[in-house]
Amino acid sequence: MLKGLSFLVILANIGLGLPALASEPIRIGSVLSVSGSAAFLGEPELKTLQLYIEKTNQNGGVLGRPLQLIHYDDGSDAGKANSFAKRLIDDDKVDILLGGTTTGSTMSMVPLAEKAEIPFISLAGGTVIIEPVKKWVFKTPHTDRMASEKVFTDMKSRGISKVALLSETSGFGQSGKKETEAVAGRFGITLVANETYGPKDTDVTAQLTKIRNTPEVEAVFVYGLGQGPAVVTNNYQQLAIGLPLYHAHGIGSEQFITLTGTASEGVRLPAAALLIADKLADSDPQKAVVTGYRKVYREAFQEDVSTFGGHAYDALMIALNAFAKAGVNDKAKVRDAIEQTKGYMGTGGAVTMSPTDHMGLDETAFRMLEIHNATWTLIK
């Protein structure tokens, strides 16, 4: 009965409108959190993969072979991610693994990718994914450490040194908290308050009141994504705290602005250029790819892009370039091709990987943005 099932699965996926390319499809396996607490990130990631695989197939696929996406939703549960990764590797026999929306899901898939020796490009932010470097594991999003460094550089430029940190008890938030605490000293910044809130909390006035009553706090740095930061920003306005408010790159999507409205005025955050594509100077090397992706995504889904969708775009493009260069069947060659990605201009920034850096982004990939009357603006 189970054997019949996997045949059914392949059949279901072929029905995705593949043109009549005779040759064997390149099988791209992906496990994303399209439901559960990280659905906020997983859904744009899946839509981007499906959109660009279909587009690539329309212009003849890669090396004359059509692309076939085999996707499972892990529902933001690392245990399910592990079991679906095994299914992709052992049963669906995929050629490459893209995915792992959250650091937890990614880390539960890493031992499988390493054992099966199959290239695996993660879309999650955790530094632990590429530190220490793992032979078969890569990632496209910036690390949380880079976000903290970018925020602290901006704070230094405004003479701020006493900062209150409010981090979310989610994977993203806690990994960010660890990195922020690690790098604060280097920038001469002391964390005078260190509070947390739950990803599903609907009210954080208690924590913010505690922060407001810490005497020498000069600015507040919130590390979270999805609904949490929006609740924090609204409560922040209600309590009229008035100190400069910084967020991490986790709020990089239009939804944050719609949820907070006027409360987002003056909020600063590090983010990929994707959010301010149209405001980039024409000379900016990223302008083309960023505006291109944004236009295609908007046409296809009538909704705005998010940086998370951008990570999926970069991962797919890096994978396809590697296939084009090194063929498909020899997984070790594909791995080497990914590791040698040089100067790939992605939505996240210029990617130059090396045997010791499986991400390839430097801090220029991040731009400091400020929200002015509900629009992202670049800080010079």
Partner: protein
């Protein structure tokens, strides 16, 4: 009760043969993975059924013991260099003692109060696992070293299925005997009427403590084995959703039915895999299946079938 008249060990042979067939025929790691998870869940659900089906107690936080087992096998070897077997035993003892203390404190509680207290245990354990980042790696979870049983490691997935399958058969054999013994009858009497059981000499507090510990320890051991098998643990192993999944497996399979527990575990482990390709409709399908089964098979699948077959076969 017709289940008992037919020799109960008939089902055991069936399980044994199925295990051997699976070991021989399952093509790759993925199907072995499903079978291993089914065996692990079946053991947990049989022991949970002792608590819910046989003894009539309720636990909405049973995944807490699974989480304690999983995390002791992750933390103790990683931070303290303990051998994995010792970590497993520690987790089991810790869960057992916790279950004894909890049962002693709340043995007067019944029905939804008991549900509430066990729910609280589950949430407290998963909140601790989420927030003690230094030890548990926080919400992103942490890696788990390989299981080494007296020096040598379990080679491949097939040996994992062999181990868990054997443990399942042992567990079924043991619980059938246990339920046919004075201890088992005292437990079921507890469910029938606590007052009458006490009047017959059953020490309610001691038996509730015993059945809580008896269901907590194996769950913790299975948590440890899963941690080593998957190689990674996250806090939602101890979470509310996992506890509800366990409860559903018990009730779906059949309360106070050992083979019902096995069936409930097998079905609800396979279901997410079968529904995985419905992208977006899985939750609806799972919910609908639960509702429909509970309406047409209110006593759970196996008891209802046994009654149905019993009526017709005579």
């Amino acid at each position: 009760m017709n289940e008992v008249q037919k020799s109960p060990f008939l089902g055991l042979w069936f399980l044994g043969v199925t295990l051997i067939l699976l070991l021989a025929l399952l093509p790759n790691g993925y199907f072995l993975d499903i079978a291993i998870r089914m065996a692990i869940n079946a053991i947990i659900i049989i022991m949970l059924n002792l608590l819910i089906g046989f003894a009539g107690q309720i636990s909405l936080g049973h995944a807490a013991f699974f989480g304690i087992g999983a995390y002791s096998s992750a933390i103790l070897p990683a931070h303290f260099g303990w051998p994995s077997a010792l970590a497993l035993v520690f987790g089991a003892l810790f869960s057992g003692v916790l279950a004894l203390i909890l049962a002693r404190l709340i043995f007067r509680f019944k029905g939804h109060y008991l549900a509430m207290v066990t729910l609280g245990l589950g949430i407290i354990v998963s909140v601790i696992l989420t927030n003690e980042t230094a030890w548990t790696g926080g919400p992103d979870g942490m890696a788990v070293q390989d299981l080494d049983l007296l020096g040598h490691k379990l080679p491949g997935d097939r040996s994992w299925l062999g181990l868990t399958g054997f443990l399942l058969i042992l567990c079924v054999w043991g619980t059938i005997n246990l339920m046919e013994s004075p201890f088992g009858r005292a437990l079921r009497a507890l469910h029938g009427s606590e007052t009458a059981a006490a009047a017959a000499g059953v020490d309610l507090a001691r038996y509730k403590m015993a059945v809580f510990a008896l269901s907590a320890v194996p769950t913790s051991i299975m948590g440890s084995l899963t941690a080593h098998y998957v190689g990674f643990v996250t806090p939602n192993l101890a979470g509310f959703t996992h506890s509800i999944e366990m409860l559903t497996m018990v009730v779906l399979g059949g309360m106070a039915s050992i083979y019902g527990s096995v069936l409930g575990a097998v079905l609800l482990t396979a279901l997410p895999q079968l529904l995985a390709t419905l992208d977006g409709w899985e939750t609806v399908a799972l919910g609908a299946i639960l509702v429909i089964t509970m309406i047409f098979l209110p006593k759970g699948i196996v008891p209802t079938l046994t009654v149905y077959l019993g009526k017709h076969s005579r």
